[in-house]
């Protein structure tokens, strides 16, 4: 997943992936590298032969504060997915009744079809991304109103995949 991070008028790109229980990070245009970084709660320790970096990292939506005794760093962190959704929909982010693609990939299996009832948290389709299968879930309970993709279709980050009409509470 790609993140755009703003700090003091500059934007940095950091891509984070996880493979075989290892974190892989691509910083800007550099090559992908495994990193040794662990979190205990919000306390992060980042170990490398060049430096050890310890900090407390607190994120609230897109505002992240990295604090160390030397001072705090304030970052604006936006995932590629959020940025694209943001661009598509103005400033309005993520709607709960919509299932989005959080990264580029391929829809390998549809679980629900139009008219089906879904419960919150239930799997609605399976997407393959980075050679891994990932179940996409409904954020709300309701009925599948429309499906925008079919099995085998490739999708881009931020693509709208399915719309769910919320369950009416009577």
């Amino acid at each position: 997943m790609l993140f755009y991070i703003r700090y003091r008028e500059r934007e940095y790109r950091v891509r984070v992936e996880s493979k075989n229980q290892e974190l892989l990070v691509t910083f800007g245009d550099e090559t992908e590298q495994p990193v040794d970084l662990t979190f205990f709660g919000n306390d992060c320790t980042f170990v490398s032969p060049e430096a050890v970096f310890s900090a407390n990292v607190v994120g609230n939506k897109t505002d992240f504060v990295v604090s160390r005794p030397e001072g705090n760093l304030n970052f604006l962190v936006e995932s590629e997915y959020r940025r694209i959704v943001g661009l598509l929909r103005g400033t309005e982010l993520e709607q709960e009744n919509i299932v989005y693609a959080k990264m580029p990939g391929k829809i390998v299996k549809m679980i629900k079809k139009v008219g089906d009832s879904v419960d919150k948290g239930e799997s609605v389709m399976v997407m393959e991304a980075m050679k891994m299968e990932n179940e996409l879930r409904a954020s709300i309970s309701g009925k599948v109103q429309s499906v925008m993709v079919k099995e085998g279709q490739a999708v881009e980050t931020g693509a709208v995949l399915m719309e769910i009409s919320p369950q009416e509470t009577t």
Partner: protein, 501 residues
């Protein structure tokens, strides 16, 4: 060493926070029983859990709890206290409180009510210290005034620049610097209304302004057997708006000759005015090492640990001895200076704007190791109440010399993390890099003139690591949902780390 066989005394600490914790430690160490009071907002403060018995004295606001003499006296009765240690702040320098303790037949661990009264009135204190104590004063008016025109006549005699100060003042309130004659009337009125509001006493006095002074204070202690000792001086010139930020023992500025002269003058004054128990005489010092009496604090000081480091004497334990009629455990000639000590006041505040911050401390790491001391009541999960001082810890260090103390201070501060709130730790770290501070010849103008806090820009490697840390944290948040529902998913690595929360 003789083991005390007297019955342990029940000693109430009429205070809160770090100083209550510190005083209780001395109470236990001397074989006595610590008792606590607390406000409704302080129920979870660690000074409560460290006492042997505790009593709630009222609601959060100090005026309804720690400052309420009747409530505190009631607590003393219920807790069956034999003596009361007032700590600093709150009722520690209130004559009525010392008197109430005495009237109730309890021991007040501090000076007499009369001494508190005399020293609490700035004009009275100056008169007493000059006439009886023999200490030099900054030229100025002897009495408090409320009439601006009368004051203006006196001001012209003293000359400009001059300081307007509140008779009942403290903490910089009701205080104004007047650079030029034509500013005087306006500033006098403002100081007057500020003092009236803050202290209920609008009387002001005038003093010649010593530009670029050192704030140097001498720790004294006296027992009822006629022993009066000094424990050397402290340099407290790192201040912001008249609030101390860093203190050193001893002063890196003083010559040995002046040090002896200053400390002897302080001892003589303490003896002449018949002062008992621990006290601090504050002086202004100009660049020629001329010193002038400023005020006497009739209580334990926040910064007493630096003196304890350098002399090896536990001031609070000595206070207890003196209060119960014992002799000081040492004689003046036994008081030796060893090495150098620096204290950093850790405040919950924005280091840039100096705004206090209330909130929950979500993580705590205090420094450890040789020559490092932390006085604090804060723990992980502690909620900083909005009602009290923003100081949440004191980190003090000792080194064989000032250089070692500075380096140790830096290392200790880098080991100090208080998460969830902003603190002034970054400010301290920057002051320790300031050339003027490092030179040892700095004045109360250091902060603001020779030093200004600036947000530290990280170097490329630090920034890169911080960015990656933020990105991984954001990544973890994005996939929290996936992890919860799919144990064997590829987010396992992150999930495992999450499981440690």
């Amino acid at each position: 060493m003789t083991i005390k066989t007297t019955k342990p005394k029940r000693i109430l600490v009429a205070n809160r926070g770090e100083i209550a914790v510190r005083v209780m430690r001395a109470i236990r160490e001397s074989g006595n029983i610590p008792l606590a009071i607390y406000s409704a907002a302080d129920r979870t403060s660690s000074h409560v859990s460290r006492a042997e018995a505790a009593y709630c004295v009222g609601e959060g606001p100090s005026i309804q709890s720690y400052l309420n003499v009747d409530s505190v006296m009631k607590a003393a009765k219920i807790l069956r206290a034999d003596a009361i240690h007032p700590g600093y702040g709150f009722l520690s320098e209130k004559e009525v409180f010392a008197q109430a303790v005495q009237d109730a037949g309890l021991v007040f661990i501090g000076p007499s009510a009369k001494a508190i009264k005399t020293m609490g009135d700035k004009v009275e204190a100056r008169k007493t210290m000059a006439n009886i104590g023999g200490l030099p004063l900054v030229p100025g008016t002897k009495d408090g005034m409320t009439d601006a025109n009368e004051a203006f006549q006196k001001a012209k005699e003293i000359g400009f620049p001059l300081m307007i100060k509140a008779l009942a003042g403290g903490g910089g309130r009701g205080m104004r610097l007047v650079m030029k004659e034509d500013e005087f009337l306006n500033l006098f009125q403002r100081a007057h209304s500020e003092a009236s509001k803050a202290f209920g006493d609008g009387r002001l006095y005038l003093e010649r302004y010593v530009s670029s002074p050192h704030h140097i204070e001498v720790q004294v202690i006296a027992d009822t057997h006629g022993n009066v000792c000094h424990l050397f001086e402290r340099e407290c010139s790192v201040q912001r708006r008249h609030q101390k930020v860093i203190e050193e023992c001893t002063s890196p500025f003083l010559s040995e000759k002046t040090r002896m002269k200053l400390c002897e003058a302080a001892v003589k004054a303490t003896r002449e005015i018949g002062y008992l128990n621990a006290g601090t005489i504050e002086f202004l010092m100009d660049d020629q090492e001329n010193f002038y009496f400023m005020e006497m604090n009739t209580r334990l000081q926040v910064e007493h640990p630096v003196t304890e480091w350098v002399t090896g004497i536990d001031i609070v334990k000595e206070q207890l001895r003196v209060a119960f009629g014992e002799k000081l455990s040492f004689a003046q000639e036994e008081v030796q200076r060893r090495g150098h000590s620096i204290e950093f006041r850790i405040n919950a505040e924005d280091p840039e704007k100096f705004l206090p911050q209330a909130g929950r401390v979500t993580g705590v790491q205090f420094p450890m190791g040789i020559g490092v001391r932390v006085d604090s009541h804060v723990y992980r999960g502690y909620d900083i109440p909005v009602f009290y001082d923003s100081m949440i810890a004191k980190v003090s260090v000792w080194g064989r010399d000032r250089q070692e103390a500075i380096l140790r201070g830096k290392a200790a501060l880098k080991d100090t993390t208080l998460n969830g709130i902003k603190t002034n730790v970054p400010l301290h770290l920057q002051i320790l890099d300031n050339p003027k501070f490092l030179s040892g010849n700095y004045t109360t103008r250091l902060i603001g003139e020779d030093f200004n806090y600036q947000e530290k820009i990280p170097n490329d490697s630090e920034l890169k690591m911080a960015l990656v840390a933020a990105a991984v944290s954001a990544y973890g948040k994005e996939y929290k949902g996936a992890k919860e529902s799919n144990e064997n998913s590829r987010w396992k690595a992150y999930g495992r780390e999450e499981g440690m929360r």
